[in-house]
Amino acid sequence: MAEQETQEQSSGEPSGERGIYEGLAYYLMAPAWVTLFVFLVVPLGIMLVYSFLTKEFRGGVIWEFSLAAYDQFFFDRGLFGDEPARIEWTYIGIFWRSLWQAGLATLLCLLLGFPTAFVIATRSGRWKFVWLFLITIPYWVNLLIRTISMKFLIRDNGPLNEWLLAIGVLDKPLHLINTDFAIQLGLFYSYLPFMVLPIYASIERYNFALSEAAADLYASRWYTLRRVIFPLVKPGVVAGCILVFVPSLGAFLAPDLLGGAKKFMIGSLIEEQFKGNIGNWPFGAAASMLLLSLVLVMLTCYALSQSRARR
């Protein structure tokens, strides 16, 4: 979908070359298809099947069809399963919380990532690459290590608080760890480059003569940004939002390590089901399938609204 818009933006170019590769297309795409099939479609299939099996205590499954996992997700039938079914709000609540957290993280990444990308894309040649390099440097370090470092930095007697106390901004340590703020900080820090890079790429392709044309035709800078620049770099913004939102939704490192075990999010919930001996594989698989469906529904709604808006 994002690609479709990009093509439209540059449809002034001749498309004759495409013909030459037409016949080769299937062969060229084969490696990608095979990889996607083996490592995406097959595992998803396994998850789907497992979500309809019966749980084995201490992890694993019994090969017997059952809807228990989905039932457990949506309904509360009492401790022994003999009471009349009531809606189970726990897991829906966790989903809701996760959506909200991921949405907020995406918004924060967008608000800070867009200006960052804009500034980088408008630097002259060499500086562009210096800035891009600096943005990506932290990502050479494993996410787990980065998240633990973040935890260390912001804990009550960590360097951040010590410094703030030392310069006299605070008189008692700021309690950050195990709060929603800490989760946001972790998500923001983890996924910011996924917002910056696609937006950078589309601003890079943007023709700044259009901004001059807009100014020439009496548009203010703000109007130019909203009505000329933004619509033309939107494919990059959408790509960035998807790249931040989707992994934030399923993230478990930041919520686990920074938000504390009590602040459950979907990612942590699912992860719980597959580790240790309290795990419930079918339930974990069912929650994963529900998460996947949710994301697909949202993306489809977006795609539909876009194609309708275009007509």
Binding site: Q9, N207, L210, E212, D216, L217, Y218, A219
Partner: protein
Amino acid sequence: MTPSAHTAVGIVGVTKRYGDYVALRDLSLEISDNEFFTLLGPSGCGKTTLLRVIAGFEEISAGSIFLYGEDIGALPPNKRHVNTVFQQYALFPHMTVLENVLFGLRRLGVAEDNARKQGFEALELVQMSGLQDRLPAQLSGGQQQRVALARALAPRPKVLLLDEPLSALDLKLRQAVRLELKQIQHETGITFVFVTHDQEEALTISDRIAVMNEGVLQQVGESREIYESPSNSFVASFIGETNLLPVRDLRVDGARATCLLPGGVQFSFPAEGGASAGEGLLSIRPERLSLTSPQEGLLNGEVVDHIYLGTDVHVVIAVAGTLSLTARVQNDGAASIPDLGARVGVMLEAGAVRLLRN
């Protein structure tokens, strides 16, 4: 020093530097109201820079700019009532032709019905009615150029700036659009400042021309004045073709002048008084030279080359070995064109020679 309110664009002592590079050097120029004014000069001479300075895209390093008597030097582009037709059109690719044309009108706060009326008028003026719902990518280059023109005309600016708007069109179309532009300028009464490096284009279209070189203004005047009385050798050789002869000991004696050409050749020619004595450069247009027999010529030499131009032929004549002259001869069959190696005489009438001092 402030230009009057009848001067559309007043440029006073404008200098523009990019770092150490001086793109415009102490440039002063007055463009009158309702004038088709052309900036002409070789590539890199600062034409685009001057337009961008007027439009407000570049800050000037020194000097001031006036629009109908108002100092606009400190105003941002969106506060200057001038519009630009960009060299690469710069149409908004996500907006239809009509939305592009209405952009400026809407920003100016013109009421929607009036805006649409003016927009359609502008489209009609450039003969693009009927294509208002297309996207720019669905138009040919020539059509995009017309939309760019309509977009800049629609808000009825005080001054329209055009940066080589015809350069992407083929010759035939360019000649046609050129005349249309002139027509549109006449109909709308908007002052046009037109940039080109094509001297023929400049000569045919303009009320007045400013010739620039390396950021310095060389001469301002009407087409005829620029062509027939160039003020220096740059203008003489840039506009049309000319023979430039460095001379010494120039003496004017009534209706005749004599001088010494390089190689010590004595040259005597009919002059229209006034030309003073001394050293300088003579400029003689090839079409003002005619060929005769060696005995009758003011100078004589040997034909060393023919340059075929279609309706005419340039005949290159070597005079006394060191000097070469080009004469333009009408191509009316082989008879009138001397063969290579033939000895010919060169004639000219009064007024054909212009003395440049530099």
